[in-house]
Amino acid sequence: MGRALGLLVVLAATWLLLSGIYDHALLFWLGAASCLLCVLIAWRMDVVDHEGTPLELGWRIIVYWPWLFIEIVKANIDVIRRLLRANPDISPTLVRSRTMQRTDLGRVIYANSITLTPGTLSIDIDDGKGILVHSLSREGAEGVLSDDMNRRCAALESDRLHRRAQEDQTP
């Protein structure tokens, strides 16, 4: 129930920011009605869970995003440097990264963060063997193996998220 309310707040905020018209009563009520309808449909589809509305991530994700942004910029500069040589300075490397995350949500965040930083690309996720990563350079692969991002993504998962994930799996 609390999660549905959270979804409603997020949807209402999105509607208000996208519309930008606040002095028109009819539009306002139509917006409120569409937000409610969306929550109702999501509820009926049974997707109002820890993956659809991951409120448990909370402040942790707000701290994680700026760090990820800086990593993306650094990785971009590295790849651009390698590309702009007369002969692209690449040494393609394949590597498996053992995931430290406890939930599917954490693993997806980690795999997407790997892909989002240029120079590393996740190809396959296997619960037993970890994430298969293709890297443009040997250095990038060693960066993945240093598990810095892996640890940070695991730290995103609070105990509450882990508990909710188990609850959602066993109906």
Binding site: L18, V79, I80, L83, P92, T93, N112, P118, T120, L132
Partner: protein
Amino acid sequence: MDWHVIASGVLVISGAFLTVVGAYGTLRLPDVYTRLHAASITDTLATFLVLAGLAIPSLVAGEWLIAVKLLLVLIFLWFTSPIASYSIGHAAFFAAQKPKLDHDLTDGEGDKA
């Protein structure tokens, strides 16, 4: 010229330049995986620079709602583009597109593809 015109111009032009770099890399690199790396420059930093360049004039004009919309565009793009890249890489790998590798730090999975 005002500072914000110059700043937004520099951002948009450098974003456009990075898009060209990404396109060049996509043509220049040897196989589908390395080309995806080049394409992700266009997906991430180039998009950010262009959108930031577009946001500056609207912020200066006090139209902060437009800047918020541009931020939402960036968030949606950064949420969805890695999924598209993953799909392409995953499909290529399991369609037996063997990656051209210098090092294979797995137990020979590059050859199994």
